[in-house]
Subunit: 264 residues, 2 copies
């Protein structure tokens, strides 16, 4: 009986390898642990959990096509993740990994080693906004979000603030590269300072003629300029792959979790 | 009472934003769902699960420093993931996402549109080997693994076989780009064919002088050559970021899950 259940599990993963036309030279000897056989049947909640965890992995690894909202069936899952321990655990880990790398870089001492930070969902959290807007279930609403930004009350992501201070203390130049628009410069500076961020070297926002550029292109062009000016981009922290991929990529990139929205 | 518990949760995420020195202009109005307050205390198993899921995310998003073994405390977690529904669900999703993208590309019809596949943990599964070697808990053992490769019995990853057939049917040229060595060409071809893979256009293995190159460099150089020959790399499927990152990157990259080992 035990053997039968094991075989079913194997076939679900490797079905094609065991069909008649692709018969393997000899049967695989699979030593499956016994607990798999005795595990209870999955509840509906387990099924949703599995499905939404898989969706979240696909989002975080950049495997999904551009998406505008989170899957409806994952609304509670995303809410539980961002308000529970999962999100903060992930944020702490990426901060620690980045900090370890930052400490390991050997500096030339010429002031040309830089670290790039994105702002939204990287240094500042818009979670208070998303709590009121379905955690990504609602389609992004520019003017509503602008109103939130203009209040200037987005709190710091604590693990990112810790990394930020470490990076500044180590002697990196810090460049903030954000998709926010130039007209939000003052309120962004005020918000950053109130949230504890200080001593950055550049704050780069989108100029009016850059409004409709894809984020990947806009950020790549800004990184290209930095490289042209002789800077070495050692680290780059962002919650979107469009913060990290493209040209003039950083020596190491750090992807912060964000299961609520996607920016191409 | 309810309010108190809510505050603690918020502070854990945004602690720095609420300390005296960084006082925000006004308190945030956080509307937290009631179920968070009534949720039971996490068991030890929940804590390990949270920790290891976070580790797996960090691995899959390329946030970790190079690692040689999985964390000891995550041994059971990784085993349960790869033998349970989690891994196969993730493999099916990446196959479907890649398939949708492959179908959406408009072809020039000149035979220059290609799809790159890695082999190990992308087309063929070495899970039968890793079942006998601690699912990544043991340090990688070259000669032991070579013996397994030389048996030529690695089964197909069924969702990848489905994608592969779709990509071939759509008219892409298929290039297999693997870190396996040239001396394993014959057994690799035999294994691939027995597992159901056919009609690839190139199978690129490491030549003896490429043995000690980092995978990212080796694979980038091979992609550079493809681009020089006029090929358009539309898709690239691999379980390692060293399959996907570097120069001449693919239009879209697809990261298959692999929590068992890391290749720089």
């Amino acid at each position: 009986m035990r053997i039968h259940v094991i075989c079913l599990l194997v076939v679900s993963l490797f079905s094609s390898a065991f069909s008649d036309s692709y018969l393997l030279p000899r049967p695989l000897v699979l030593q499956y642990p016994s607990e798999i056989v005795t595990r209870p049947k999955k509840s509906d909640e387990d099924v949703i959990n599995l499905h939404c965890t898989s969706w979240r992995f696909a989002a975080e690894t950049n495997n999904l096509s551009p998406w505008k909202t989170i899957p409806e069936e994952c609304a509670d899952y995303v809410k539980d993740y961002v308000l529970g321990k999962g999100y903060v655990t992930d944020l702490e880990r990426v901060s620690e990994e980045a900090s370890m790398f930052a400490s390991s870089v050997e500096f030339a001492g010429d002031g040309k080693d830089i670290w790039i930070f994105d702002i939204d969902e990287t240094l500042l959290s818009n979670l208070p906004y998303y709590i009121d807007h379905g955690f990504g279930l609602e389609v992004f609403h520019h003017s509503e979000f602008d109103k939130w930004v203009e209040r200037g009350v987005a709190p710091a992501i604590a693990p990112s603030l810790k990394l930020y201070q470490r990076v500044v203390d180590l002697g990196y130049k810090v460049f903030l590269l954000t998709g926010r628009k130039e007209s939000h410069r003052l309120i962004t500076v005020e918000n950053l300072i109130n949230a504890g961020f200080q001593n950055w070297d550049k704050l780069i926002l989108r100029s009016p003629d850059e409004q409709h550029k894809m984020a990947t292109l806009y950020k790549s062009e800004k990184r290209d300029e930095m490289v042209k000016e002789g800077y070495r981009i050692r680290g780059n922290s962002g919650d979107q792959w469009s913060d990290l991929l493209g040209s003039s990529m950083s020596q190491r990139s750090f992807k912060l979790a964000n299961p609520m929205y996607y920016i191409p």
